[in-house]
């Protein structure tokens, strides 16, 4: 810690921050110091607590305990106004810009410059004031441009310009590069260097360790809601960061298939979806193997899974289950054939959060817990109890709302829904996103059990350690096409990335 007198005073200290939600501890005793003009990278796996911490800093949520010290002044919690007033600005993961306004109007949203006797919005003054801000971030678009015409990268620059207009002293960037091209990312790196030169601190949250290595002065690693460790500029290296992030060797988790591989269960041939209509993907899943599907954001992995599951329409190609054409006209028909999807966004598409756990478990198969169209409460509960025991769903009562469960237990409810039916093929889309380590291991074990039992298992994941640690074979997608497949012997982060990024 910075206790010596000769060091400059920290701009911001998060002191022993804890945050508990019903059933989960999101943050435990997190202490982080931010100095003026430094780039602090905050890294950690999904669900490590980064977003929660930043929400506390933004004044969106209050910590359960701990203090936030700004310029030596301690607060128990911040309001959004306090956070803004202290010069804390966000560049959000989901960009907070308004398509229907121009650049200047976005920058001054809620603080419009006014003039005249009626206090009408002074468009000219706002545009004039916006120009220097845009210059500072090196934007190539003018203040009168409509935001609808800007690319994602340009919108990000706009957000940074907006932060500057708020006299930001700390700019928090949450996964700023996740949807940027390589070139756009380089521009971003330059903007960060410029901000730093202007004495502005940057908290950089990213999964892309290469960028972190490139731009960070210091790295703080969060794991399971706690600070797993910090690295100084000299200590920053890929391996050091990964070691702190995962805290264990995930490859050791790998369990090989119990039996030799069986016949092909699911076969996709020349499958095209609406996101990448010109690209065709072919891949197959055999009985007994776990096929990992890797790729960058926008590679079309989720789109592929949803098309196979009948959510969206295929633009072409064929899908076969056990050698026979699969009816993918609706989720209803694929579910009837035994092809299930554990979707990416369990809160939106995986569960009805406001319904009871037992309702969720039988949701896709109410027919089998009812007779003559009437649901039997007893059978509904028996079925839920069976899955609760089998999967170790931690809840006092299956009549509780799914919303009350922790992420891992919610995912188990989604799994319970499918496992209580007759699975032939299960597609897992980001199955462990936002889930604690313990539950992760259980889900991996379950996937292996399913594969060993002859169920087809396909796992889409952006978590490199997970793809490498769990899969028997990795198929890498790039812009809707299969860029290549790797067998276990060739597994490495490097090889996967090479295929995912392609020859750029």
């Amino acid at each position: 810690m910075t206790s010596a007198q000769d060091l400059p005073a920290p701009l911001l200290v998060l002191d022993s921050i804890c945050k508990t939600y019903p059933g989960v501890v999101a943050l435990r005793d997190v202490t982080i110091t931010v100095m003026p003009g430094e780039v602090l990278a905050l890294i950690g796996e999904n669900g490590a607590g980064k977003s929660t911490l930043m929400k506390i800093l933004g004044g969106v949520i209050a910590p359960s305990s701990g203090r936030i010290i700004i310029d030596g002044l301690a607060h128990d919690r911040l309001s959004v106004a306090q956070s803004q007033g202290a010069g804390i600005a966000f560049v959000h993961q989901e960009l907070n810009v308004f398509d229907n306004l121009d650049v200047a109007a976005n920058i001054f949203l809620g603080r419009e410059l006014r003039s005249g006797p009626f206090g009408l919005v002074d468009v000219r003054a706002m545009r004039a004031a916006a120009q220097p801000l845009l210059d500072r971030v090196g934007a190539r678009f003018g203040p009168a441009t409509s935001v609808a015409e800007l690319s994602l990268a340009e919108r990000q620059l706009l957000e940074i310009a907006k932060a500057l207009s708020l006299d930001a002293r700390v700019v928090i960037m949450d996964e700023p590069s996740s949807s940027l091209t390589l070139k756009e990312t380089q521009v971003l790196m330059k903007v960060i260097a410029d901000l730093k030169a202007q004495g502005i601190a940057v908290i950089y949250i990213s999964h892309r360790l290469g960028e972190v290595e490139h731009c960070a002065d210091r790295v703080v690693v969060l794991r399971d809601g706690q600070v797993a460790g910090g690295l100084t500029r000299a200590e920053i290296s890929h391996d050091a960061m990964i070691r702190l992030m995962i805290g264990r060797d995930l490859k050791a988790l790998y369990t090989p298939p119990a039996r030799p591989l069986g016949p092909v269960i699911l076969e996709l041939e020349g499958v095209r979806n609406s996101t990448n209509p010109n690209a065709a993907a072919s891949l197959s899943v055999r009985a007994g193997e776990i096929v990992g599907v890797a790729g960058l954001v926008g590679a079309g992995r989720t789109e592929l899974a949803e098309a196979v599951f009948g959510i969206t329409r295929l633009r072409g190609g064929s899908v076969k289950l056990d050698g026979a054409p699969l009816d993918i006209s609706s989720p209803r028909s694929t579910i009837a054939a035994g092809v299930y999807l554990v979707p990416e966004d369990r809160k939106r598409t995986g569960l009805v959060l406001e319904s009871a756990i037992c309702e969720n478990i039988s949701m896709a198969d109410l027919g089998s817990v009812s007779s003559r169209g009437l649901v039997s409460e007893a059978r509904l509960h028996a079925r839920a109890e069976a899955q609760r025991t089998r999967l170790g769903i931690k809840t006092a009562d299956v009549d509780r709302k799914a919303a009350e469960l922790s992420g891992g237990n919610q995912q188990k409810v989604v799994l319970g829904k499918w496992l209580s039916m007759r699975p032939r093929m299960i597609i897992f889309d980001e199955p462990t996103r936002g889930i604690d380590v313990g539950a992760k291991a259980e889900i991996y074990r379950l996937m292996r059990e399913l594969a060993d039992a002859g169920v087809g298992v396909m796992m889409i994941s952006s978590d490199m350690e997970e793809v490498i640690g769990v899969s028997d074979r990795i198929v890498v997608l790039r812009e809707g096409e299969v860029a290549g497949a790797l067998d276990r012997a060739d597994f490495s982060e490097h090889n996967v990335l090479k295929l995912a990024v392609g020859a750029h």
Binding site: T20, P22, R332, I335, E359, M363, G367, L374
Partner: protein, 332 residues
């Protein structure tokens, strides 16, 4: 019976008791029977509205449907001499078609329920007025229809048959909503349509069915209303009835966002609304204040319910937090 419904029932009893103290006529058989008749009439289509609100939708066309279908029924049996069972079937079939149209426009063409049924409100009212040329549709002088009259405005042991009809419909709808597979699907669609679709539920079919159920119950109510008033004034018959239905559902614990509510609740809601009407009449409050009383009670009721829910949630969150800490200290 859910907790919410119980609270509403208590409120109804308390209001009733106060009215009785001020004016003992409240509990006279004739007042009770008249009020029960109105509860039955309004309850019939309020239950239907409940199904639509359960999906997160709304049906604003109810009042106009009651006018148009009322005109149709009166004309069919009064003017054209159609046998009454056939006339009822025709009216219910016409209602079904309207509900089907609403549902299809909303699900297949992705139109907003508010817009679709607002247009229904205008169209059905306009057609009713145009068809009759603004004239009141009524039965020929001296005409009687004993069977229909017994079914609709008759009484058994002093209980109006409209009230009994509502109870019967209520029981059937209770089984459908709270016990059937369809009911579970309806709740799921109302709470999270995406997740329901990802579970293989035919969400479009569920939504369409809700609008059809609403329209069918409304057409039954239309027949009861036509027989009750015996003549249908096409420009005023059924005006604002959709608002009574929505109010009953909201009072009964339905959320306009969908996925919440119960049949007992909406029936009690319809009951409370009629009790308030009755209160206005019996306590000598100018009947022009009718809507104001209703509005104030709904506002207060929903507000109280929301505050209570929030309080309960806070309690639960605190309890869970305490439990979490215990767990940790025990482990550590």
């Amino acid at each position: 019976m859910q907790k919410k419904d119980l609270g509403l029932a208590v409120l109804i009893i308390v209001v009733g008791f106060v009215v009785y103290l001020r004016n003992p006529l409240f509990l006279s058989p004739i007042n009770l029977a008249n009020t029960a008749n109105l509860i039955g009439l309004f309850g019939l289509f309020a239950i239907g509205q409940g199904f639509v609100i359960m999906t997160g939708g709304i049906d604003l066309s109810v009042g106009s449907m009651i006018a148009l279908l009322g005109v149709l029924f009166v004309e069919l049996i009064g003017k054209y001499g159609v046998p009454w069972p056939l006339a009822m079937l025709i009216v219910i079939a016409a209602g079904t078609v309207m509900g089907l149209a609403h549902g299809l426009l909303i699900t297949k063409l992705k139109m907003q329920p508010f817009v679709v049924t607002l247009c229904g409100l205008l169209i059905y009212r306009g057609v009713a007025r145009g068809y009759t040329g603004e004239a009141t549709a009524g039965f020929p002088f001296g005409a009687t229809f004993p069977e229909v009259e017994w079914l609709t405005i008759g009484r058994s042991f002093g209980v109006p048959h409209s009230f009994i009809a509502m109870l019967l419909v209520g029981v059937i709808c209770w089984v459908i909503l709270h016990r059937s597979v369809f009911g579970r699907h309806l709740y799921a669609v109302g709470k999270n349509e995406d997740a329901a679709r990802y579970s293989g539920i035919r969400t479009d079919a569920v939504v369409i069915a809700a609008y059809v159920i609403c329209a069918v119950l409304t057409s039954i109510a239309a027949i009861y209303f036509a027989m009750f008033t015996r003549s249908v004034q096409p420009s005023s018959h059924g005006n604002f009835y959709e608002l009574y239905a929505i109010a009953a559902a909201v009072l009964g614990g339905f959320s306009l966002r969908g996925g919440e509510g119960s049949i007992v609740g909406v029936m009690l809601g319809a009951l409370l609304l009629q009790e308030l009407q009755n209160l206005v009449n019996l306590l000598g409050i100018p009947s022009s204040l009718n809507f104001a009383v209703m509005g104030a009670v709904i506002l207060a009721g929903v507000l109280a319910d929301q505050q209570f829910t929030r309080y309960r949630e806070r309690q639960r969150a605190r309890a869970m937090e305490l439990r979490g800490q215990d767990g940790r200290s025990a482990a550590g």
